[in-house]
Subunit: 101 residues, 2 copies
């Protein structure tokens, strides 16, 4: 069963839309950062299940921010990363190490 | 044309896999955070195109981290957010404001 970024943005809107609108972008960004911190901790020493859950939480709060900002995440990805490296337009990337190490 | 998280993780692996392995998780996390900072700036006053590009960059570096950690982002999302709010299992969420404001 697929669960795309479009699904995620819809699920987050249906499940949390009212709360998200009341909280606003600034408050939502603080919650997003809290989850980023938890992801950092999991990357240092979490189990595989903890890691997966923290990645999901970061994505969920990123989807909340995107909903608030009116951005379609899947379209944004296709635009920037759908045609090779955005810097050199090659795959694998051939950008100099100073630019993209 | 869809561009799913599975597509993203594959594109990132094909395009940057060698560089990503050499840089490691710690260095990649610093690049991820730089993009998070740029997203914060765009949310405060960016154009719609700048916002979309910064969301894409945050997602791309998150995919790099997930590749390094061996996490399938789409599966992680389905597991945690595929069945309503992870707290109350309802949609819309009915968690108390103290827990999920």
């Amino acid at each position: 069963m697929p669960f795309t970024l479009i699904d995620l943005q819809n699920v987050i809107r249906d499940t949390y839309g009212d709360k998200d609108r009341r909280r606003g972008i600034e408050g939502t960004f603080m919650w997003f950062m809290e989850e980023v911190g938890e992801l950092s901790a999991a990357l240092r020493g979490g189990t595989k299940a903890e890691l997966a859950a923290e990645f999901a939480d970061v994505l969920a709060w990123l989807a909340t921010l995107a909903n608030g900002a009116g951005v379609d995440l899947e379209a944004a990805l296709l635009e920037k990363y759908g045609h090779g490296c955005p810097g050199c337009h090659k795959s694998p990337c051939t950008c100099a190490a100073a630019e993209k190490p």
